[in-house]
């Protein structure tokens, strides 16, 4: 029962985070409105959450994005899923610890994967439109991706130290010889 209550609370908090993302973050100055807080939440769930929670929350967050925005359904579900599943694979294959470097690399990887997934799907769907040009050749894409990488890295570094100082989730387990 406690587990389901905990999960329900996490779902509600995720919804409020998404509302904050759509309303407050989107109204900020040109660079800061590129921050993707739900993606950062998913990265934390990948590293610290229970098994498969990253998939459930990627579905939930992507679903809300798809419902609200008018892009083709389910572009955000697919983009978030690709980002979290590949980041989880990266984490399990290459990062056996929970150091700050693993946090930063996984964040950068998830940010790049999410943006690439979205743009690729968008490009394929709109391939017959004359105004559609490949995003890889556009300066705006690389500029905004650069800003997102920097901002997300800064946020994840701050969150890492907050989690480290306030919880024991990132502390190493040391074996004592008796």
């Amino acid at each position: 029962m406690t587990k389901y209550l905990h999960l329900s609370l996490q779902i509600i908090l995720s919804y409020f985070l998404i509302i904050f993302q759509f309303t407050y973050i989107s109204s900020l100055h040109t660079v800061f409105n590129l921050i993707n807080l739900p993606l950062i939440l998913l990265i934390l769930i990948i590293i610290l959450g229970r098994k498969n929670y990253h998939i459930y929350f990627a579905f939930l967050i992507g679903f809300i994005f798809d419902i609200y925005f008018f892009d083709i359904f389910p572009i955000f579900i697919i983009s978030f899923l690709v980002a979290v599943m590949s980041s989880r694979y990266l984490q399990l294959s290459f990062f056996t610890n929970r150091s700050i470097y693993s946090f930063i690399v996984i964040t950068a990887f998830a940010t790049v994967t999410f943006n690439f997934s979205y743009q690729i799907i968008n490009f394929i769907i709109n391939i017959y439109q004359s105004s559609n040009s490949l995003f890889l050749t556009q300066a705006w894409f690389w500029e905004s991706l650069g800003y997102k990488l920097i901002l997300h890295s800064i946020i994840i570094i701050v969150l890492f130290y907050i989690i480290n100082f306030t919880t024991r989730r990132l502390r190493p387990y040391l074996l004592e010889k008796k």
Partner: protein, 270 residues
């Protein structure tokens, strides 16, 4: 530790996605959509303003210089418009007389639906300034795709692109995807299409050379679009590009609204 992708997991994920796509396009997710959108609308009424105010203060110093220059320009404009007003009052009096004779029904009043800006979709938009905005009113409030959205001064801000039951996506007039049928204030025929340019201005291309346009001319909606009434101000001509050996000339049009002050808007119901 699990290092390989679990095939079962992937099939499960794909099955869920396909199911959601079916349900979405069968409109079975409408009740959930309404709840999600109304929550975002409520949040937007609180948070969007906070973010806009922070952005305004951040961009304040540049804005002050712009406002001063604008002020001086507008004072000159007011003098010019007062003279024109007198002329148009006479024309209106004549018009009224003629309408009475011919027994026309004159209705200049459009109904409007007031709405609040609650979000924008700049997270993944093509250009940084190419984002669309979202209003907290939708098809349940009588809105339709293609309707004009104006600010408190009656200036055209954009038009509705897509709708939910209780929210609407609006493209701003400076957005490249936003086009309007327009004419110049001193010309009676519709001259062409204005289109957003670089997320900063509006441009009108392919204007025949024989039309005399000058900097400062107002650009208005022509009324050729089904849901946009004529005479709504789109912007003011900022610069004209014309070569003597060209058939066409181009005009750059400055929008007359402030991007940082898009809070309450009105949707014009024709």
């Amino acid at each position: 530790m699990q290092k390989t992708f679990n095939k079962k997991k992937i099939y499960f994920v794909l099955a869920i996605i396909i199911l959601l796509v079916f349900l979405y396009y069968l409109n079975a997710l409408k009740p959930i959509e309404k709840v999600i959108v109304s929550g975002i609308n409520k949040g937007g009424e609180v948070f969007y303003n906070l973010g806009s105010n922070w952005r305004s203060s951040f961009e304040g110093s540049d804005e002050e210089k712009k406002l001063k220059a604008n002020n001086e320009r507008l004072e000159k404009e007011v003098d010019k418009l007062l003279a024109e007003k007198a002329k148009w009052e006479e024309v209106e009096r004549e018009n009224n007389k003629l309408r009475n004779y011919l027994n026309f029904f004159e209705d200049n009043e459009y109904s409007k639906v007031m709405a609040r800006v609650v979000a924008s979709d700049n997270l993944l938009s093509q250009e940084v300034n190419q984002s669309n905005i979202y209003l907290n009113k939708g098809s349940d409030d009588g809105l339709r795709e293609g309707m004009a959205v104006i600010n408190e001064e009656g200036i055209l801000v954009g038009k509705i692109l897509s709708l939910h039951d209780n929210s609407a996506q609006v493209c701003l007039s400076i957005n490249e995807d936003c086009k309007f049928a327009a004419r110049f204030s001193n010309q009676n025929e519709a001259l062409g299409i204005v289109q957003g340019s670089l997320g900063l201005t509006i441009s009108m291309n392919l204007i025949p050379q024989e039309y005399n346009i000058s900097v400062g001319d107002l650009v208005l909606s022509s009324g050729l679009e089904k849901d946009i009434p004529p005479g709504i101000i789109i912007g003011e001509v900022n610069s004209i590009s014309k070569q003597s050996n060209d058939i066409w000339q181009e005009a750059t049009i400055e929008p007359l609204y402030n991007l940082n002050e898009l809070d309450f808007l009105a949707v014009v119901i024709p």
